[in-house]
Structures are given as structure tokens and as C-alpha cells.
Symmetry: D2
């Protein structure tokens, strides 16, 4: 099974860390720490290997991949040793990273994206291409009637005004080109009724939203802890300080609101009520990709006694995200091959804001993931 | 089903908070926050109600229960309002709290304990009495050949030298008197081959060890989080600052060592390897029952990038322990009624250092607990 | 020297804690922990004693002082024991707490405030009355030409539109009535050129702004530490979570902005440059008066190596503010008696946003305070 | 003024970071961040420049300096770029780093050390050589009568048994060779009456003990904050997690005890009483030179209300120590030139456990330092 991975935002930190890391694993220079599919209990012959993935993508930036890799090494996000060692292999990917098409109408942009995907597939004789959005977070779009009706959407895309936010246009183009689509960001992506219709019509799976890499990951184990122990959470307040491209973007109030809502959802779903407090996101350029999150949890125990917990998370966002991107590429490819269509709700383990009515506790999400991997495995008859 | 609860250490903070709380719940003055059996999914008709429990116990202290309750209220461990409201009911329990017997040989002490248990059972016409050790942590005992052989043990208890540490002597006496035994402390309790033999012979269940109320509770969800995400924990170091009676006791190096070992076990079991670092316990009288724990976790992600997490837990030990004591009394009583004998490994959810080869992740422990409660429920035909 | 203290916001948490505390100290029921003037090195015969202060004030609320005291005790802000013990004495203050006057023009309101101050002074035969603003934070006012010219201000106050924010109107009324004025909040208070003119004309001192009780206090010692060690602070980001009346008020964006700016000023002044990062203020009702602040400091050492420091502050705002209110009343009274006029810049030790060009490091501010107290002492010839 | 710096422990992390950093500053490749003497207010013509210092030293290790520098770069303690750039200059220092002499008696060792110092002075035509101990912490030595009497000491050194711990023997040898001595560690160094006699006899200054680089630095500003605000510190408990050579050494109970005592002294001296709590030091190899310290401070405010503060310090020990080593070399050289003899108590700013009866608050220590630098400056007539 030859699998292509087409990254929207292919020159960003997450994308370049993913590609560089996959090349390093293929070359035997790095192990697969952080890749969930490499843990015991999640093995399946139906999954393509990390080293078998072929990468390409779109970006509006034109910074060369090796330049970006050097900058990541300078910032301590990837080891300088590895950035040097895979430099040539990385340059080999360069030819498959193309500028995001610009056209007069969104219909024409979608056609151009599709053409790029076709070319990539043909050039590498790929069985399938998984499109993954790792670009910066968009503001939540204004509702449009065409979002709920595929025919209306097709017509509206020919008009002069944009109908879809970029992430959803990429999803539309991907699905039309026969490619499964994954949204690793909180952006709209395939999360519109018209696109769900399209995915089912094309018999394609899709997944999302918003990779769970830091504070929300911790929440997804701590909130169930309080719930299982029947402790009443009164306040859960947090702040995320982050730099990097995504940080600057999230400083925009609209994008910030989308992300914050996505981050608090786990509490309501897991606890069964909404505690006081908010999740803040502040842009601090100096911190670059090393995000610091602090949360205060005030809770009540037996007879109403008040207690507190705090945690601080100092994580490197790209280092946490990249192995999950590789996991998602492999899982979505295998799901496509196995004939799955529509939302892959069993991948909730990976996302802050998962698709469907699914559990938000990490342990239950892992059970669902394992069941899904087991199911894949039984259908696998070699690659 | 009338159920007695006999507390070893009945005048201590945990015991008095448990009794006071149960009385307050019975009187409708407090809800059951912190009681795990009151969460959805863990209901069973086979369990006695909190308000139906009848309390008694042993202690070497002679401070009256209402005095202790007033001290707890002054220290903010129970609400002053509740301590006042159940004052009379608490004094009613006073007659069933007796001094820990002192005799020439441990065999005689065991007989005296058994006699106290019989008297308690008869006076209140109880179907069964669950004995729960909530006294201070003992040092780990020196090994003795009689620990592994019931007959040898029986003989040795008649000698002039103590053979069993106090917690194990209480377990021996309880089992001989037909009472299930629970150890909420890290002490030896029923955890000796000779006592296991006795429990099975008498067809009695037992449970333990060391109620999981704070730092280890958090570890039992965070360690699986790192494992499931394939992140490599390099260092896990922590310190526990605590006052109160147990704090002073744990300042003794031998008791401290027993407790610290119990607290790190979850890491090895959950991660599959032992990270660097230790768990320290320091006695700070000023903090009283409000324990503060701080942990530093240094971990490694994709491509070896280093990251960190810290947490601080400010918990009130007695307020966290008391509802679990009530849960354990109810569960052990129901298990006894259902004919369970030997170690109740399905109660690992409650313990730092659970009996048997069991999972140490909190989510899996909860699954096991739910299955056990479900099994109880099906055998229940009214109380 | 008989000294009156007139509190604007006399029924609020800070005011009631101040009055209750002074009564408890007078009665010998509490010591003066938290009162700076009771530390070695700051004694002076020229200062009125805590027990000699006579209290009155204005408020828009009508909740009785003893009810408020009971609520503070319930919330753990003052000990229940003390609230009970001084209940009668507190009710004795009740007659001197009056509703904030409402009139058609601000000139008439100022006259009514002045009449209340006169009545208070006469009733208790006070040598002087210090007016202290401890009401909720106002939004920053819009500039008005009359703010810079006393004659224009006098004329404008007769118009139908408000010219001054409430804190400044109170300052105007106080100064006209011959009373020194202290602003314990970040509101405008006497900080307008027209009011400075009035103070100098009436030969009265004034002080402010914004009592330094928590996070900023810590900043005022940590920032100099980094500066003295020549360590380069790159980021200083913080969040304040607080409930209580002031918390709700600060949730208003305009008031929040005023407060946040006041909180960051210490960094620029002490470091000599402005690091990245912001100070957030979030209202979390559940936390009540127990404010939690968390700060992250990222700094650079020798050869550019990056390091970090974090701190969390769990403070009870009223318990931290009240002794400073008593200190300020005593200092301002003694300064008035000693003939000081205009801004009391030597009181910077007490304020987040002190008047004048003064040092922002706590140690230097304390030197200035000690010099001022020494100067007072030498002029004191008994009280 | 040509100044030599002779480092005991010259191949350790602190020494190599100091030398490498001084070479980088001389070459214009790095600025002097972290060097206290480069802050405004501490300039003096009497001080030798960083770039003018000439380095040599003793060590029991034989790892080449450039190898050590590469290891420091790999561990992120110095920038790889700088380690590369000064590689040749660093190798030039190699010839002046000699193995610590081994002889039959301590008298012979002292002679050999003195000969090495003479050779270094002559080779580089140095005006003076400052000896600085940056080797690992020793256990506290057993008392010996010769420690208090110089003649007795001279005699005892000829015996077969060691009389002095290594740090004190180095101090003895340095002082005999006419070199001022600085102890940057908590070891004994010159802190013996017999050595004080020697220093005064030889008209030499000495300084120490134990560079204040992390947790104690923070304590030295926070403890005065609580004192100045009249807040009562009830508990101050802390833990230091550290790896690296010094960490391993401090894991030894005896060395640990010496260091811990040194770290708590600031509290008693600054607060005027000893709060509850201890300072722990734990060795965690994984953390290497990046030390993490966590402190909990529980304090009491007005009317006895309890509050808390916590801080975490993530510092790179060598990066914090090295610029202070350069400062101390420069200051001690200038003090020697200015004719100062005996303990340099005015350098308390740099030390956890300063010599003499001196203030422990950082701000007052800085005032003393500034006065000392000013005094130096006035005596300087060019270099």
C-alpha cells in the first residue's frame, strides 16, 4: 500500500517536523517516540509504515523546507543533528510542495487543488493520498445557506464571493479528488453538512478536529479523575502562553474564541456540568513553539471541603503534534482502504474537539481507538 | 442488611470525619460528594446505604469524639455547622469506641479484640461487621517464619514476644471473629500468607492497601496518559508536605520508606519502566491535614525533544479519605454477603498499593470496579 | 491626636475587615500582623495608634456592618471568633456610615459629602479626618478640559453632566472639607491637575494609587532581583483569578485595562525595558476574596542561556489590604499634622501605581518610607 | 593590572563555562548578561576587564577543556556556536590546567600547589592570581585542634594523616603563595581560624561561601518582602532537584546536610525567626545542570488569615554561576590591589552563606556591594 500525505501548510512547523521526523525514522536515525500507533496493543498489518509515507503539500509561504528545518533546529524544536542528516531527503520533498493556488473563483481554486493532488498521486504511483490540514487556525466563518446543501454549494463556488473558508475549500477539493481529509486544526474543514454529503457520496472518510497536544490532553485525564471520584469541580481556569505562527494567529480574537471553546468542551462532556472559569490564549512571541499552559482547578470534597490543584505544562507544540499527524495519516489511509466512509469518530483520542457523540475521557477514547485498529487488522491481507 | 463498621483508630481524623459525615448524610445535612458509589454507573441494590452503617472501633487515644470533631471544625477539615448539628448523634457512637486491648500475649489481645467485635455485633444485631484500619502507618515489620504458616502463627502468638505488627494482629482477630478486614493504610494488615490462609478458611474477604487520596491518584491518570501517547517519562520526582498525626508518624524513616515505595509503584506498573526520581514525604506540622504535594515530570517526545509538566495538589487528607472509607465498608459488606472470599482485587481503584496483579491506571481500575458492582447487583434480592 | 478615618465604600470587604480588625486590635483580641508600621524600624510617636482610629464612611450599599462581617467570617476572610467578639463595637460604627449622597449636580453632591464629613468630625471631636477610597475600581474617565484647571472645574461641577468620576468627586469634596485623601484603588481619585492645585491651596496631603497587595508586591521584589543580577527578562506573563465585588467589577474591560496597566508598570520602571507578556485579570466568582495569581518569567543568563521561573500567589485580598489601609490612615494623618501638602510620594511602598517619580523596587521604597517615618517622629511632641 | 584566575576544579562545568564565556566576551561574540559588575552603578576603573583575565587551574579530571565544552554545548549549557568559535582559545588555556598534586603529606601537597601558582604567575607575568574553588562540595570536616591555630596547623600538615579537607588545603596553599582565595562552594575553604590568621598575616583578602545562584537568591528577596510587610511566615519548605557532578556529590548525606543548612540560613537571618519546613536536595541525573527548585511558603496575614505562595525555579546552574565567578575574580583582585585583608564581607551579595555578620536581604547586600565598588573606584589610578 503506497500512501501519500498532502499537507495544507506544508512549510509550517508542524508539517516540517512531521516530514523531517518520518525521514529520520525511515533512515533509522530516530525512534518513534510520541507515535501512538507504535505502542503495544495498537499494531496492525493494515497500517502503512511511517517510512513508507510519501509527502507533498500546499503552502502560501515559499521558505525552503531545509531552511525551515534549520530554523526549527536553531529553536530547539528538532535536533540539529537530525536536521543535518536528512537535509538531502528533505530537499527531495521540495518538488512536491506547491504554492496554494490563487484563482478568480473558489470553484477554480478547488479545480487547481485537485489537479495538484492528481499530479502528486500519478508521479509517485500512490494508492491513495490523505490530505491533512496543519495550517494556521482560521476565524469561525459566517454561516451561509450553501454550507448545508451540496448542490447549492457547487453553484455558489462559481460566484465572485468566497463561500467557504480556506480549510473547507481544501476539504471540498480533496474529497472531489477522491482523497480522505483530516483536520488537525480547529478550523471548519469538512465539518459542514454539504461536505459530509460529499464525503459519503464519494465513499471517503474524514477526521478532526484540532489535535490534542497539550493542556486539553491533560484535561482529558484529570476531568474524568474528578468525575470518577465524585469530586465536584467548582472552577477550572487556565491560560496558554504560546508563540510561533499559530500563536500570532490565535491572538486574533475570532480565532482565539474558536480555539478556547474547543478547549473547554472536554470539561462539560466529562463532568456533566460546566465549572466556572475560562481558558485564555495569549500570544508571547518569545516562547516560540514551547507553549506553557497553567491551570487552576478548585474542587469540593466530602462535606463541602474546598481543595485545589494546579498544573503547568511546558510542551513543544510541533514535537507533540508531528507524531500524531503521522498516526492520523496512517490510520486514515487504512480506514479508506477498508472502505470506511464519513466521519471517523473512533479517532477522538487525537482531537480536542472530536467529531460525533463520543466520550471525552482519554481512557475511553483509547479503547475506541484500539477497537478500530483491531478491526482494521482483521481485514488486512498484507500491504 | 444491617452493617457494622469497626474502625481501628476510631478517634483519628479520618475515622471521625467518616462517622461525622455518615451521620450528616443520614440526617440529610450533607450530600455524598466524594463517595464513589454514588456516581452514575455504580449503583446496586446489594449495597447498604450510607445512612444504614453503624459505627464502633478501637483507639489508644481517649479524646472524646465530639472534642475531636470540634478540633476538626476549628482546623477547617469539617464544616463547623455540621460538627455542631451531629454532636448528639456522635456522642451516641461514643459507647462503641473502646480502648485498644492490652494483654500479656498477642493471643490474648486477639481474643479481647474478638470479644469487643462480638459485643458490638450483638448489641446492634448486625448481620456483619467490617473492620477497617485507619490508624497511623506502621514501620514495615521484620519477617518472621510464622507469617507464612497459620498453624505456626497461632502457636507463636502465645509467646512473650510480639509476632505480628498491630495492623496484622487486628486483621487476625477480625478474621477469627468472622469479620471482613480492610486496610486503608500502607501497614501490613492482612497481607501475610498465614492471614490469607485464615481468610480463605473462614470464607472471608479482605481488601487494601493504602487509600489513594492525593498525589498517587493524580499519578494514576497522568502516568497512563504518557504511556498511551508513547511519550517517554525520564524523571518523575515529587515531594509531599503534610502535618497531622499521620504526618508526624511518616517522618519516621521506616514508615516513610514503606509509604514512599507504595507511592512510586504506580509508575513502574503503568509505564513499564522506572523513571528517575523519588517521592519524598516531609512532616510540616503547620500544614495539619492539608497536604501539599508537588511533582515534576520531565519527558521526551518525538525526536527526543525534552518537555516538562508540574502539578501541585492541595488536598485535605481526611476529607478525601472519609468517603472512600464509607465506600469500602459498603462494598466489602456486600462482597461478604455475596460469598466472596480472599483478596478483593477488584477494589484496586481505591488503593495506592492494591492487592493482586491488577492494572494501576485509574480508568481500567474503574472498569473493574464497575464490573464488580454489577456482579453484586445481580445477586441482590433486596437487603 | 484624635483621628477619623472616612471610608468611601465603607460596607465593602476591605473596609469592614479594616474596621473589624482595628476594633479587635483595640480590644486586645488580635495582633497587628500585616501592619507595616508595627515592624521594627518604623515606630514613631507622631503616629496615632491603631486603637485610636475612629471610623465612618459612605456606601451605596445598605447591608449592615455586622451582616457583612458575618459573611466575611463565613467565607473565611476574618475569623468567626473575632466577628462575634466585636459585633457590638461594629454596630456602634453603623451610625457613622451614611448612604453616598445623590443630588442633581456634582457640586451639590460634593457639598453633601462635605457636610457629612463635618458632622463626623464634630460628633467625635476629631483633630482631623482622613478620607480613603476603598470602593470598587472605576473605568478610566474620559478627559475633560476642567480636569486641568481648578476654576474651570468648580464651574463645570454646577452643570447637568458629570465632570468627575466618583473617586475624583470624593477627593474634591474631601479636600474642600479640609481632609487629606488616599486612593487605595486604581481609580482617578486626586490624580488630576485641578485637584493637585486644590490640595496645595488647602495645604493638604494626598496619597495613592492602588494598594499593592499581591502579585505586584511579588513583582516589586523579583524584578529588582533580575535587574541586580543582570539577568535579562524576556517574558513576564501573568493571570489573576479573583472573585468578590472587585473581581466582578474588574471583569468590565475598561476597569480591567486600568488595573492591568497599573500592574505592569513596575516591570518597565524596575528593569529599564518592557519584557514581552501581559497581566490578565479574570473574574471567577467561586474564588471570592481568595485571589490566585500565576506568573511565568522567562529570562536569559550568561551566553544567552534561557531559564524560567514561575510563581503562584494564593492571597486573601481583604486580609492583605486592611492592615495597609490602617497604616495609610495613620501615616497620612501624621503627615497632615506635620504640615505636608501635595502628593505623599514617600508612600510608594504601599502602592502598585505610586504618585511621582519614585523607585518601584520594594527595598528602596521601604528606605523612603523609613526616612519619612523618621522625619515624622522628630517633629512629634506627644500626641 | 594583569590578573590571573586559578580555578580549583578547572575542568568542571562551572569553570569551563566561566573560561569559555570570558573568551567569548573578549572576542566580542557574547555580551556580559549575568555579570553583576556590568550593571549601572557598579562600574569602577579599578576593576580588571573580563577580557583581561588569564585562566589556569587544577583538577583531578583529565578531560580536555574543548571536549568538556562540547559536552556542555550538547547539553544546552553553552551555545554550540560559541563553543566552536572559542575552541582554539580554549585549547590555549589547556597548558595552564594541571593535575591536582598528590604527595605523601599535606605539607608537600601545599608546596606543590604553591609551585604551580608561581609558575602560572611567572609565565604570564601576572600582577596577582586569585584562586577560586569551584570543585564539588565536600562533606563537613571533623573538627581538629590545629584548625584554630596556625602554628599547630603548620606542624600537623607534616604528619601522615590529612588535617585539612581539600578546599582548606587549597586555601592554605594559595594564601602562602600570596594569592587571595574565594570559595564558591559550601566547603570549608578559608573558613578556619588558623587560615584567617594566615590571611591577615600575609595581608590577603578572602571571600565565600557558596555562590547564590538559584533558590536561595529568590529567598533573599522574598523573605525580606514578608518581613517588610509584617506577614508571618509559618512554613517554608523546598526541594531542589539537580543532576550534574555537583548533584551526584550532594546526594551524599554529609554534603547534602552542609548545603541544606547553608540554604535555610537566609530565612532565620531575614525573618528573625525560623519557620517550619526544610530544604531538600535530591539528585536526579536526568536533569543535568538544569536545576529545578520548588518552594512552598505558608504565611499568616491580618487577623491570622492563612495564605500561600509557591515558586518554581528552572535554572541552569553553570550559566548562573559562571558570570559570578568572573565578578568575584575581578572584585577580589581589585580588593587585593587596594590593600584589603581578611574576609571580604561586602561580597555577601554573591553568597548563600556569606562571611561575617552581614544582612541577608539582597537589596541591602547590593547597597554594601555598591559602596565597596565605589570605594575601590576612588583608589584606582588607571590599571
Amino acid at each position: 500500500m503506497t500512501t501519500g500525505v498532502w499537507l495544507i501548510g506544508a512549510r509550517g512547523s508542524v508539517a516540517v517536523t512531521s516530514v523531517l521526523g518520518a525521514l529520520a525514522v525511515r533512515a533509522g536515525l530516530a525512534d518513534s517516540t510520541g507515535c501512538v500507533l507504535e505502542t503495544p496493543g495498537l499494531h496492525s498489518d493494515a497500517l502503512p509504515g511511517i517510512g513508507e509515507l510519501v509527502f507533498g503539500g500546499h503552502d502560501i509561504s515559499s521558505i525552503p523546507l531545509d531552511k525551515k528545518a534549520a530554523a526549527l533546529a536553531e529553536a530547539g524544536i528538532v535536533p540539529a543533528r537530525l536536521a543535518g542528516a536528512v537535509r538531502d531527503a528533505l530537499s527531495g520533498v521540495e518538488q512536491d510542495v506547491r504554492p496554494l493556488p490563487v484563482r478568480d473563483t473558489q470553484a477554480e481554486v478547488a479545480d487547481a487543488i485537485g489537479a495538484d493532488l492528481d499530479r502528486f498521486r500519478r508521479r509517485h504511483q500512490l494508492d491513495r493520498v490523505v490530505v491533512i490540514n496543519v495550517s494556521s487556525t482560521e476565524p469561525a466563518p459566517r454561516p451561509h445557506p450553501a454550507h448545508t446543501d451540496l448542490d447549492a454549494l457547487r453553484a455558489a463556488l462559481h460566484g465572485p464571493e468566497p463561500v467557504l473558508p480556506p480549510s473547507a475549500l481544501a476539504a471540498y477539493a480533496a474529497l472531489r479528488a477522491g482523497c480522505p481529509y483530516v483536520d488537525f486544526t480547529p478550523s471548519t474543514g469538512a465539518r459542514l453538512p454539504a461536505l459530509d454529503t460529499l464525503a459519503r457520496k464519494e465513499r471517503l472518510p474524514y477526521a478532526g478536529h484540532d489535535g490534542k497536544t497539550g493542556e486539553t490532553l491533560v484535561k482529558s485525564v484529570l476531568a474524568p479523575m474528578f468525575a470518577l471520584r465524585n469530586l465536584k469541580v467548582r472552577t477550572w481556569s487556565g491560560i496558554n502562553l504560546l508563540g510561533g505562527g499559530d500563536g500570532a494567529n490565535l491572538a486574533e480574537p475570532a480565532a482565539n474564541a474558536a480555539k478556547s471553546a474547543s478547549k473547554q468542551r472536554v470539561l462539560a462532556e466529562t463532568l456533566g456540568y460546566v465549572p466556572q472559569g475560562d481558558t485564555r490564549i495569549d500570544f508571547v512571541e518569545d516562547l516560540d513553539d514551547f507553549k506553557t499552559a497553567w491551570d487552576l482547578i478548585s474542587f469540593e470534597g466530602f462535606l463541602g471541603i474546598r481543595m485545589r490543584m494546579e498544573f503547568t505544562w511546558h510542551g513543544c507544540d510541533s514535537a507533540l503534534a508531528a507524531p500524531l499527524v503521522l498516526d492520523l495519516a496512517r490510520l486514515t489511509a487504512a480506514a479508506h482502504r477498508a472502505g470506511r466512509t464519513g466521519p471517523l469518530t473512533e479517532l477522538a483520542f487525537f482531537f480536542k474537539d472530536p467529531l460525533g457523540e463520543v466520550p471525552h475521557g482519554l481512557a475511553e477514547q483509547w479503547q475506541a481507538l484500539r477497537a478500530a485498529v483491531d478491526a482494521l487488522g482483521s481485514s488486512g491481507e498484507g500491504r
